[in-house]
Symmetry: C3
């Protein structure tokens, strides 16, 4: 800490928009020039930046993590009132802890169990025999299909659908015969599921999302997938059925993983990349077509499509040169 | 059939997780080694595997199809009680068959028609004049816009939206003028629509999904599209407006089809591929950038982006060699 | 205008499906042959096509825009009854204009404000302190998180989620620490948001969608993004956090924009293209792998993956030829 220790902080803000009562942070050197103009009342800085400003400042190893904690302190999740709203419909055998909240228009199925301090917001549908661990929050219009299990302190955003049928069908005489999807989705503790994300139930065994996994919006997780602990996926990622993803992996936006693949721990897949085979080794993997202005792109695409002809021309040259050298 | 014919079966299970009372199946030779360790009470096997195990077994041509049927027998869809829940809101003129179920908090619009044995689960919204054929099931929080038609035995998963406006706008002086979308979505019999999938209504004519089409989760079908009978699409596929897709096609996850294209019957598009022109011939089509580890990828990308320069170098070599040969 | 001016028009239709009472339009020369067979009662044609048909016709500069206006006249949005449905739940302090409609099962949070002629359809959830401008329409099952602002004349389709938490987390000792997302989503006037589209709230500052922006279905907009006025995005587009998109841009289906990029005004990104760096200049940009039939594709992919080897072969040839020439 350096500077006036008595400054009062009420809010977190960005360096650019901060004003009196606000604390801001600097985590990347490129934003350093903003320090001079900021009107923040206090700052969170890397230790090396002690003398970068006279503004009251906290010095720490990882300003971003420190900021996350200050912000969590100043911005607790919205409070909720314990109790079941009069318009919610609760089926027989459902057990809802007294400290939990079930909002207007929700439906809670037979024998479902909601632990302590669970908050289910308006219009959500919780299937029969679903279990939701203590401290979890479901935003409005979430659907959990029957028998799925959600751990403690989950955050599930609106429009998420957990436990719909996996896409399993046997082809027979030109038609598709549906394979009943009788597994569940089992989600560990401290998992976040983004808006509009869908996680399908397993065919026979379960689809499993381990502790600490963070899923952004509009992600699709197929049946029987396992996502290892503390893996994070950005928006629009898709994981096809039976893929097994390691722990501590990250997936950039719209990355896709084909079915039945195995991805090791600590694998990082770049945005927009399609994983077409198993990745047994940690590391960063990428495969995206570089974007180009219209004219250049048309040329690149034409040449790429005919890369076999280019290769044939090189092969021909190699042959001619070999002949020329022989004659020497 | 071979082995003890009196064994009692209660559940289906995978070879690995099966125990007493379970029946499992073998459809791919690669899982054959699991036969020795399985604790299944009975098995479904290809005819050729009659002697592969002493476990009571059913021998058939297509174990996967046989398994699908056994599983459907043992796992019928969840039963529902006929009747309209007291909290559902039914508008004037709606006709709901006596055997059908409308769950808590649903809204059924004016003159909508639900056939026999239709089940609409909690929180779904059925627009005015919608028609839903007998035996169809809508999971919680499905939205069907006015005037759309859904055939018999449909399965529509949570978060699906059928009949929203197509994306039709005329550009005029830097702004977009909305084109009213007055067509419908018309869905045939035996169609499944996955969670979060959206099918837009037609602009003037209808968007049509023919019999037996299977759509996985988070698929987007644009206005005026026609999807031919028994075509199946995996998760995250997108089909732009006015495309016409043939019958018995399959689309891998996240495949995309541009607007106004025509795809023949029996076309198979690989996951992650973008269809940029019509495909008049049956077959398998692919176009995806191979994924590589970071270092290799950067080299590939740089060379690809400059493939025109590589081609120019080859052309130059061809010229020089031609000169050298002339001199000989 | 040409032909009988007293023909009565009741509906718009396509050239192919039009019949008595219908008006159709021709905007592209390629559909000209349909003029001869159409049974439309009237037509909207480019000025140059005055003599192309004897059918009563309106001649104008831009038939598509003219058609849009005629269609809007003949197909006004569905009317709604002012008032709050008895089953809707309205929290303390919410202000709902008398001309507005709140449908069955909706939830409107504390201190929310709905302007005149707003229509919120069944099952939607409006968070605390949300503001929605006059003339806006929310279809069933839309979720607006607390404090978000929606301008006038918005159209928001079912399943859209506006204001869910952005994907902000600080990595710390192998886990993710959530960064509270305390900004809002602020949407201008005349914006359309498609079914299943998600727009995340900002971390500290706001996510901003400017006037006249049109978003198709299943689009994902990350936190702190700004989308410039009158930009249009087709289905399945994704924009990662903190990207700034210019005005009057268009994005083809499934185009993706990485985080923190800046895209100039009047940039057009093709369907399926991944924008990996900022685009400071107007123009059309593309990057997609051309689709090919199975056999050709396998060859292309193999050569592409080994393009560095091809380049090495060309380099080797260049070296040999240089030697050969020196010897001459």
């Amino acid at each position: 800490m350096a500077g006036d220790p008595d400054v009062a902080i009420e809010r977190v803000a960005s360096l650019e928009s901060a004003g009196p009562g606000d604390i801001a942070f600097l985590s990347q050197a490129k934003y350093r020039p903003l320090l001079h103009a900021t009107r923040a009342a206090a700052l969170i800085l890397p230790r090396g930046e002690r003398d970068a400003t006279p503004i009251p400042r906290i010095l720490c190893d990882d300003p971003y993590v420190y900021f996350a904690r200050v912000s969590a302190l100043l911005n607790p999740p919205a409070a909720f009132e314990p109790g079941v709203h009069a318009s919610a419909v609760i089926e027989a055998g459902a057990r809802i802890a007294g400290s939990s909240h079930v909002g207007p228009g929700c439906h809670v199925g037979r024998n479902a169990e909601l632990g302590e301090n669970v908050c289910v917001e308006a219009g959500s549908a919780i299937g029969d025999e679903v279990r939701i661990g203590e401290g979890s929050r479901l935003y409005p219009c979430v659907v959990i299909y029957p028998r799925c299990v959600i751990g403690k302190r989950a955050i599930v955003h609106s429009g998420a659908v957990i436990g719909a049928d996996g896409f399993g069908m046997a082809p027979h005489e030109g038609r598709w015969i549906k394979i009943p999807q009788v597994g569940r989705v089992v989600i560990g503790d401290d998992v976040e599921v983004g808006a509009g994300t869908t996680i399908d139930r397993g065919t026979l065994d379960d689809t499993v999302i381990e502790d600490g996994v963070k899923l952004d919006n509009q992600i699709q997780i197929g049946h029987n997938v396992r996502v290892g602990a503390h893996t994070a996926m950005a928006g629009c990622v898709g994981v096809a059925g039976s893929a097994r993803i390691g722990r501590h992996c990250t997936f950039g936006g719209a990355a896709m993983v084909l079915g039945h693949l195995e991805i090791a721990d600590d694998v990082h897949v770049s945005a927009g990349s399609l994983v077409t085979k198993s990745i047994p080794q940690a590391g960063t993997y990428t495969g995206v077509f570089p974007i180009q202005a219209g004219r250049e792109w048309r040329r690149t695409a034409a040449l790429l499509k005919n890369i076999d002809k280019l290769e044939a021309r090189v092969r021909m040259l190699e042959r001619i040169i070999a002949e020329l050298r022989e004659k020497e």
